[in-house]
């Protein structure tokens, strides 16, 4: 299990214990976390599951693919070095805790 902490722009937090096979996006959708929409269902066709990952260089996250890199050019909120598509971040046994911040602006 991976503990995923979703931080909202207003400071509130939601914590979810995600099972292997879940992604940060799918766990958020199952729990109705505000700001993560996942319109394309994890097909990397939209950027509505954009999050900022705390400590993105920790080494436990999968490397960013060219496709993800390309879609991150289409985010609503500004892209930073912490930006990832949450559909590409798997929960699993190797990651105990992940903290992500949900961008503030999302239609």
């Amino acid at each position: 299990m991976t503990k995923i902490i979703y931080r909202q722009p207003d400071g509130t937090r939601v914590t979810i214990n995600a099972a292997p096979g879940d992604s940060v996006m799918s766990a958020a959708l199952a729990a109705d976390v505000d700001g993560i929409v996942g319109e394309c269902g994890g097909n990397m066709m939209c950027a509505t599951c954009h999050v900022y990952v705390e400590d993105p260089g920790a080494g436990q996250l999968p490397a960013m693919t060219d496709d993800e890199d390309q879609m991150l050019a289409c985010t609503d909120a500004p892209r930073t070095t912490a930006s990832r598509l949450s559909c590409q971040l798997p929960a699993g046994d190797t990651i105990d805790t992940m903290v992500v911040t949900v961008p503030g602006s999302r239609t």
Binding site: E39, G41, N43, M45, A47, M71, C74, T75, T107
Partner: protein
């Protein structure tokens, strides 16, 4: 039971209000067979349809890598058009083209579009404001505004809108999954050739002049960056923007006005708080979805509500029904612009999620902010407008209103 027992276009009750029939399907026959051999199935529940949309193994092509026989087997312009059209493609071609087209409606492009979208909508609202008496909203606004926006989007002269739109029904027949007669195919070929020529000229004349913040410019830059998208693919994608943005927006704008004028309490709420405009637009799309059915093909055999759905089965996904599913939405038949958690399926979901959704939302935001302020006395003068008989594209063909009241 066959879905045709419920979905009868000849039934006057169904023609005026389809939603009771959809509810019966959801409640009693959530997997309803169509046709004598039962090779097509109608699904009407939100959860089932969302699952199909988001499953990457479900297809838009009848068989993997194959196109409908009706589009012709030769290299005609119609067949070429179909084979390059995003809504008719599966991975991997769809994936490649879709990613290249995505920047067209990304936030940066939308921010640049807002000023001219606002100008077109406000100018046309002002034109309505000059009308003394009644006017057909469909003719004088619903058809006009999306055409002007589509033309501006593609850098086509607004005066050409009629010429461009006239050939669209012929092409649309080719892009749907309905069988085509030889005459219809010939007409579709002519229409496709017209679009290749017309849009091709625009592409050639605009080349080098547009930046990445422009939807057409974004696609052109993708084309120029190492030939990742061909000229034909570029043209077909741009025509796809035109087609997709025109009819659905016309329908949604008309439905928005109809819904608000027939629910004065909701109109008052919107007038008092213009920031409700985005939520009101989402509610219009949920409550009167512009597209009622979308086609997919089962990518593998699966069980659903006790029915075995074979691989290759044509699935008619009833998104208008899903958006009224009481299993997903509380009080689904109530038009409520303050509804929260409104994750409707009007733009579908999954890999084919409507690429133009951000543009639709921009248009809806502008329209629903401006209309209640500028035309606060607008009144519906025909409470029973005529509707099309089309099973897929449900729309009012006229909507008589008095812009300044009666």
């Amino acid at each position: 039971m066959s879905a045709l027992a419920y979905l009868s276009l000849g039934d006057p009750t169904f023609r005026t209000d389809r939603f009771p029939a959809y509810r019966r399907l959801r409640d009693h026959t959530p997997v309803a067979r169509v046709g004598p051999d039962g090779t097509r199935a109608v699904l009407t529940r939100y959860a089932d349809i969302e699952r199909i949309f988001k499953d990457p193994l479900m297809r838009v092509q009848p068989k993997a890598g194959e196109f409908p026989a009706g589009i012709g087997t030769g290299p005609g312009p119609g067949a070429t058009f179909h084979k390059l059209s995003l809504p008719d493609l599966d991975a991997p071609t769809h994936t490649r083209l879709r990613k290249l087209a995505s920047p067209a409606f990304a936030p940066r492009a939308l921010a640049h579009m807002r000023s001219w979208v606002e100008r077109i909508i406000i100018d046309n609202v002002e034109a309505l404001a000059t009308v003394d008496g009644e006017v057909d909203f469909v003719e004088h606004f619903g058809m006009r505004v999306p055409a002007e926006i589509a033309c501006r989007l593609l850098h086509a002269p607004a005066a050409d809108a009629g010429t461009v739109l006239r050939r669209m029904p012929a092409l649309n027949r080719l892009l749907t999954h309905a069988p085509l007669t030889p005459d219809e195919l010939a007409e579709a070929d002519q229409a496709a050739q017209f679009y290749f020529d017309y849009i091709g000229e625009i592409v050639d004349s605009q080349r080098g002049k547009l930046g990445p913040e422009d939807p057409v410019g974004a696609l052109m830059l993708a084309e120029e960056a190492g030939g990742r998208v061909s000229r034909d693919e570029l043209i077909v994608t741009l025509v796809g923007f035109f087609i997709a943005s025109y009819h659905t927006t016309m329908t949604a704008m008309t439905s928005a006005v109809h819904a608000l004028l027939s629910h004065p309490d909701q109109m008052r709420l919107l007038a008092a708080d213009p920031d409700l405009a985005p939520a009101a637009w989402e509610e219009v799309l949920r409550w009167q979805s512009p597209v009622h059915f979308i086609t997919r093909y089962a990518g593998y055999e699966f069980e659903l509500h006790g029915e075995t759905v074979a691989e290759g089965t044509q699935l008619l996904l009833g998104i208008a029904s899903a958006n009224r599913d009481e299993r997903r939405f509380a009080d689904p038949d109530t038009f409520d612009i303050r509804r929260t958690g409104n994750r409707h399926l009007a733009f579908t979901a999954g890999g084919h999620y409507c690429m133009g959704a951000p543009l639709s939302r921009l248009e809806g935001d502008v329209l629903l902010r401006v209309l209640p302020q500028r035309l606060p006395a607008m009144t519906l003068t025909d409470p029973n407008p005529p509707w099309t008989d089309d099973l897929v594209f449900r729309a009012m063909t006229a909507l008589t209103v008095a812009p300044n009241g009666v």
